[in-house]
């Protein structure tokens, strides 16, 4: 199945990876420099490789829509609540402008896609956060869509998978944004009491209010390699402790070692691993 998917690269892996790369000195129309190993790589090669560096396995960000295609059987994904868009509840200055800008740029209406579909014929509910939409920040609509996704899973007795990618709470929605942590977590508690499996997938970066709510509540927590995962962001910690952070701090491998991640799975193996887990859970 994964093989089949990988053969369809052209359909879903044509994603813009520019923003993932720092060095633009090489001709960035065709070549990019990997932030991890420093290799100059043919951009098309990276794109056709699910945004993974072919030299060092570094996982660049993957837009939410591509992630859905990566995980869900072709033609089976049904998006729900696609039209929900944020409003400026607190009359926060310039928030509408920001929303419009990100909306135009990402061609998505919010920082999460929710719905249901099949993984090798097993039906699941799925929420995928979009790191490109306002840094995947969680406002009312993100919280609402994820909660509705969880509620959909409960109603339909489905397992749910949430792919996290977030800079944290959305400042422009203030306290309402904070309350999404409670809202999503309590929905997961209800799911849990229904003995339905929740698999949390952490991708780069998963921080702040998302880490301190649904990201860390998976029955199983899977991470992509080398993703930044933490409550406080590295800059804030650095400011607090007034020293540099240790190498690898808050990365997936660090969290695995400290007991907060069940397993680290390469992007290419993710669908197959999910399938196996779902099967073991009787789905």
């Amino acid at each position: 199945m994964i093989k089949k998917l990988l053969n369809k690269e052209k359909e879903y892996a044509k994603v813009s990876v520019n923003k993932n790369f720092k060095n633009k000195s090489v001709d960035d129309k065709f070549w990019i420099k990997c932030t991890s190993c420093g290799s100059n790589i043919f951009k098309k090669e990276v794109e056709e490789n699910l945004n993974i560096c072919p030299k060092c396995n570094y996982h660049f960000k993957l837009p939410a829509r591509e992630r859905v295609n990566l995980l869900i059987d072709e033609g089976t994904f049904v998006e729900i609540d696609a039209d929900l868009t944020s409003i400026n509840i607190l009359d926060f200055p310039e928030y509408e402008e920001k929303l419009s800008k990100y909306s135009a740029k990402s061609k998505e209406k919010e920082a999460v896609i929710t719905g249901y579909g099949k993984i090798n014929d097993i039906e699941v509910a799925l929420c995928v956060m979009n790191p490109d939409f306002m840094m995947g920040s969680m406002g009312f609509i993100v919280g609402e869509k994820i909660t509705k996704g969880i509620e959909y899973a409960i109603e339909n007795k489905l397992p749910i998978i949430i792919v996290c990618a977030s800079g944290g709470a959305r400042m422009q929605e203030g306290i309402i944004s904070l309350m999404q942590m409670a809202k999503t977590s309590q929905a997961l508690k209800k799911l849990s009491e229904n003995n339905l499996p929740y698999i949390s997938i952490l991708t780069d970066p998963t921080t702040g209010g998302v880490t301190a709510s649904f990201a860390m509540l998976g029955d199983l927590i899977i991470s992509e390699p080398n993703a930044l995962i933490g409550f406080a962001g590295p800059r804030v910690i650095k400011q607090t402790i007034k020293q540099d952070l240790p190498e690898g701090f808050q990365r997936s491998e660090f969290l695995l070692d400290h007991g907060f991640v069940d397993l680290i799975v390469n992007r290419k193996d993710m669908k197959n691993k999910l399938y196996k887990i779902l099967k073991i859970h009787g789905c």
């Binding site: 309402i176 904070l178 409670a182 309590q186 880490t211 301190a212 409550f231 910690i237 701090f249 907060f260």
Partner: protein, 316 residues
């Protein structure tokens, strides 16, 4: 920062002047009673004017003031036979969160709250009220204990936020807070929370997934500190006072946003001016809510809590 540093300045000046007049009148045997009466009336007016029109930023100051009463103060004043219980049974006793059991009137309760220090030494010991994961895990342990023995839970919220350090991250600050949100939402007893000072972000919410959330009049509750937001938005923490005005972090803002259920009155000038009065108001509120939940079915207690958070933001 003491609460009477800035806000109180004109009031204190006036108070001093009245004292001076009284002294003068006594020592020199001059009748200044009219002047004193006039000044006293002016003082009264000024107090009302100042204290009833505090800006959000002034409230931020008041909520953080070093002489603002803490969890311990309120426990002492509303709870009898309180016994503090320690430890998360896993790693540490985090002194930034305290908890224990006691009576409010005749009702056994579990009380948990962030705890700031009264001086530098105590603040270092209590990490300025910024918990590590252990604090949240201790709180959860005590909440589960309360559930087992069917005691209502009272939480006092007063923290700049969960601590942002290496150890806190290593030991799962995010996991600890998340677990509390998750577990609190399922507890089979009523939870009543009162924001008594600073309600700082996830670190505050970690004790706040409750059936009822009240705020002391001059306390604040926000997703980030004004300083933090100012430095994110304008790379300039000094614009915090401006930012505070747009953040909607005061009790009246949050009441309007239907995030909180009740504003508990403070004495003119802030809780520290009359701890007994503030405590009395808190106690009355708690007893009222305890009574409200007394005859509720467990399922209703849980579903009311669920609905409360489910509809925040929706009902605007």
């Amino acid at each position: 920062m003491s609460s009477n540093l800035q806000i109180d300045k004109p009031i204190i000046e006036l108070e001093n002047k009245i004292e001076e007049f009284k002294k003068m009148s006594k020592e020199s045997n001059i009748d200044l009673s009219i002047e004193i009466k006039m000044l006293s009336e002016k003082l009264s007016k000024l107090k009302k004017e100042v204290y009833e029109n505090l800006t959000p930023w002034q409230k931020v100051g008041l909520s953080r003031a070093s002489d603002r009463p803490t969890t311990k103060d309120y426990i002492e004043n509303i709870c009898s036979e309180f016994i503090e219980l320690h430890g998360d049974r896993l790693y540490k006793d985090d002194k930034a969160i305290i908890g224990g059991i006691g009576f409010i009137d005749n009702t056994p309760v579990t009380i948990i709250g962030h705890q700031k220090g009264k001086d530098v030494k105590e603040n270092i010991e209590r990490n300025f009220g910024m918990p590590h994961p252990e604090g949240y895990r201790k709180a959860l342990r005590l909440m589960k204990q309360a559930e087992k023995f069917n005691r209502p839970i009272i939480t006092f919220i007063d923290t700049p936020g969960a601590f942002c350090g290496l150890g806190a991250e290593e030991r799962g600050q995010g996991e600890a807070i998340a677990k509390n949100l998750f577990e609190m939402s399922g507890l089979k007893i009523p939870i009543i929370s009162i924001v008594i000072g600073e309600g700082g972000s996830g670190g505050a919410l970690g004790l706040g997934v409750s059936n009822k959330v009240a705020m002391l009049e001059h306390s604040i509750y926000s997703v980030i500190s004004p300083e933090g937001l100012a430095s994110i938005l304008w790379k300039d923490a000094s614009k915090a006072s401006e930012v505070a005005n747009i953040m909607k972090l005061t009790s009246s803002d949050l009441y309007e946003l239907k995030v909180i259920d009740k504003i508990i009155k403070e004495p003119l000038g802030g809780a520290q001016k009359d701890i007994k009065f503030t405590s009395k108001n808190i106690k009355e509120y708690i007893l009222e809510e305890i009574q409200y939940f007394q005859n509720k079915k467990i399922e209703d207690i849980i579903s009311e809590r669920y609905n409360k958070f489910r509809k925040i933001g929706y009902n605007l």
